[in-house]
Symmetry: none
Subunit: 533 residues, 2 copies
């Protein structure tokens, strides 16, 4: 993709100055550290003209805090390579190792939004899928880690029966030997589907996906095959770009979990602000729902932190759909009114442990909780809308059909390959020749291609020349190679070599077909047909 070179995005920082250097010096350090990372006197002059260096756009003191400043620095968009790892690098890579720098906001450009699509569903898409409007949604978690798959799936059924909108795995429920991913996910989804089957209202189940690099896509595909519509995923555990990749490739609801992000929020003067990390950035990666601990629970976010995250998730931001804030970390029924007042309708309540404390009848406890939520809003229901096609439309992990391990030979045909028929006709420079493409066009990464050609009695290939070389191995019958001014007879297993730009042609002057392998560079120039005198 080609983007305008001069396009710039802007990162807004809060910088706290605790030494005797000026705020301008601190800001200037960032413009270098996050881009060229060399001393000022080593920067080519053209780099400044080209805007490769970060550019200070604005510095403004923060009222009442004599040593704090709002600083806006713009960067050329293309230095991020429009890839998430390098974008995070420009955003906070090296300066994470400095003190007292807080990323408080980011202003993106349209190029970013055309590469990074944001949420697949967003608030509207999830509501359509559930057919639930006008009220906050409720989610609960399958836990604790370590109980049997049977118990987890029974719990899923009970929560669904109680009328919960969403069920997620606890984020510590992974691929442990005592409840392996595939078996567990299939079983929980089946339990939820059974409950859904008997009614119009639907509960969606989101398994936690935290597999290894080499297995995570298989886990996602397994979930999709089971009919699952969304997943729980923690960007800092599996890698931020892994989430972008999965959200971009698969039509899933992405519920993002904040595990391992928290050090950014420990000190208000350092890190990436919660509203940026759990709001803007998770939404950019594709989160339809972002989970975070609400103020007043067992974590330390303030109400202001939480409202800022919700704003970043829901506000207008170019073409990105709005996402749900999902409040967690010690939510119970007594807090519903207070939280509703703060967050309003487009919110997900995550209630875990406090439902479990009613384990005598989880369905009943869930029902009570749902009733409480509904009492706060004017719920409107519609039939759930289907947005997705069937499970046969899962894109395959590899985009092309890969070469089979072995192509068996029989009667000059190879299994898994087809013959492009003998071609003869007026205006063609060749006659009576067919081809089987064997290697090189089926997703292999070889630098060469292997083809089998066969020439009928009296047939011939084009008399041609090109820069790329040919290696020819006789396989069937006998043929003649015209090569420069000479000609050679080729029998079975003879190997011929045609050098660059050497005029050549293959002819069959015998009775049976003449077949040969031809090996060529994959990257090769177009042949020039020689008009023989």
């Amino acid at each position: 993709m080609k983007y305008p070179e001069n396009e710039r995005f802007t990162v807004h920082y809060i910088i706290t100055v605790n030494d005797d250097r000026s705020i301008e010096e601190h800001a200037s350090d960032i413009t270098l550290e996050q881009t060229v990372e060399v001393p000022m006197d080593c920067i080519p002059k053209k780099h400044f003209e080209d805007g490769i260096i970060g550019k200070i756009e604005n510095i403004q003191p923060i009222e009442k805090k004599s040593n704090q400043f709002k600083v806006s620095i713009s960067y050329r968009a293309d230095i991020t390579g429009f890839s998430i790892p390098q974008f995070f690098n420009v955003l906070f890579g090296n300066i994470s190792l400095k003190n007292n720098i807080k990323v408080s906001d980011i202003t993106f450009t349209d190029s970013f939004r055309s590469v990074f699509k944001g949420p697949n569903y967003g608030i509207d898409g999830i509501r359509k899928l559930l057919g639930v409007y006008g009220r906050a949604l409720a989610c609960s978690a399958l836990k604790p880690m370590g109980i049997t798959i049977n118990k987890l799936s029974s719990m899923a059924a009970l929560l669904a029966k109680g009328g919960i909108d969403l069920i997620k795995d606890d984020h510590g429920i992974s691929n442990q030997e005592f409840h392996p991913f595939k078996e567990r996910v299939s079983s929980c989804q089946e339990a939820v589907e059974k409950v859904n089957a008997g009614r119009e209202r639907q509960t969606l189940y989101f398994p936690m996906v935290s597999g290894r690099f080499e297995e995570i896509e298989e886990q996602v595909q397994h979930a999709i095959k089971e009919g699952i519509r969304g997943i729980l995923i923690a960007p800092m555990l599996v890698g931020v770009d892994t989430v972008r990749y999965i959200a971009g490739k698969y039509n899933l609801i992405i519920m993002a979990h904040p595990a391992l992000t928290g050090t950014h929020f420990h000190d208000p003067s350092h890190g990436i602000a919660p509203s940026v990390f759990l709001g803007t950035l998770f939404r950019m990666l594709g989160a339809d729902i972002s989970v975070f601990p609400h103020a007043g629970g067992r974590f330390h976010f303030t109400e202001q932190d939480c409202i800022s995250i919700a704003n970043s998730l829901r506000c207008a931001n170019g073409s990105w759909k709005s996402s749900f804030p999902c409040l967690a970390g010690g939510i119970n029924i007594n807090r519903v009114a207070e939280i509703t007042k703060l967050y309003d309708t487009d919110t997900v309540f995550l209630i875990g442990g406090s439902l479990m404390q009613h384990s005598a009848d989880i369905s009943h406890a869930t029902g009570v909780f749902m009733k409480k939520i509904k009492s706060m809003f004017n719920e409107k229901l519609c039939p759930p809308e289907e947005l997705l096609a069937s499970s046969c439309e899962i894109p395959s992990a590899t985009d092309q059909s890969i070469t089979p391990p072995l192509m068996k030979f029989e009667n000059f045909k190879w299994s898994g390959r087809y013959i492009e028929e003998y071609k003869t006709g007026p205006g063609l420079s060749f006659s009576g020749i067919n081809r089987q493409e064997l290697i090189g066009k089926f997703g292999e990464k070889t630098s060469f291609g292997l083809r089998y050609f066969e020439i009928q009695r009296d047939g011939y290939s084009s008399l041609e020349k090109h820069v790329h070389e040919h290696v020819i191995i006789g396989i069937r019958g006998n043929g003649i190679l015209i090569k420069g001014e000479s000609s050679f007879n080729i029998s079975v297993n003879d190997i011929a070599y045609v050098s660059p730009f050497e005029k050549h042609q293959l002819r069959n002057e015998g009775k049976e077909p003449f077949g040969f392998f031809c090996i060529v560079d994959h990257k090769r120039d177009k042949p020039v047909v020689v008009n023989d005198e």
Copy 2:
């Protein structure tokens, strides 16, 4: 894999108590938060018996700090699923969102070390490859981001000429349109190889790998095919498990970069300590070299932080090889003596900007720097050691004639080519195999090579894997292809395909010789012989 259920690993925390709850309560919170994440009254009794909950092993006040405590908590090893994402989750997932908890050490078990192999090379392996002993190594960086590929590769050549041991890309040099990964990496490696070709001493070039989820492995493979022996990679940018995967699969030197880790080190009372994150954990992921800013530069690490990281990288830790600490962030020639005193021999100096400030003659400046380092130590040099060749890479005699137009086939020999005799012997990974190099080593410009191998009765090729692919065509007799976990029978004219990094071997269990063509990319990586269990 099956591991003992009762095996436990231990995480050591420093907890600062700033409220009126007891240290026991704080510690107990962690035992639940990082495992079952439910209130105490929801935990099945059997969970305690089974040890699913974290277990407080020790609480000890820190002298002089009345509100700080060392707390050791053990966890059942298998709750991590022996996967890196879930391991990081147990280590610091949710508690990252709490305040005043510092991970200060981890005691692993052997199960971890049998799953996570740690560094491929370590200090000893890198020294062998360079043949440099008895002194610290020196590394420099190609920068600044945004200059042309030509300038980057010229710079690489100049640094290599100056005698630097290692060259890395600046970590902001990614896959930007102005210097795309593949073209840039090929060009820089070629420049370094040219300098290396004329001398015994070798410089190694490590490109920065920060590609997207779906392209990062292709980038790694590209580097390997170019003959590159190591890469620079930032675990927090591409995902911690991505690094573990690449280090585990490819036989590369891994140089780990600390981008985006820094928020953990901002407040000494919170986060994962530098010695754990950049030391123990990066080493666990496979880092042979871990880059971090040395005290006194433009970052804020203390000398004590730095020495602790170096210790964690180099100390005995089960089967894990020791790794190099690599000091960065404003190193210059005037600091060599001081740093040498602090870190001693097994250290890498990273000197970037301060060499560039002598851009009039970077080679000379590098030479001066190398001389300074050598003056501090008793350097011992050996010839650089190469890894063993496999059967498809038996060095061949080079006196064969250039390719004739036609190599006539007779009795499984081709005119103008020599048979490299059947080889069998003690210490070889193959037996009873011979070869005729047919195409690719005789002045042709093909991107591929064509070879004929023949395996005697009961002979076999090396069991090996590599990034480059094989295309195999049966020519004589019958043979068996072991490919991954399957095996296939190959008869005359059957075509087999071996995909990248697939374990494979050819065997002859018949009576007559088994002969086959093998087509490979001309530019290809060295096979890794697999020691079959």
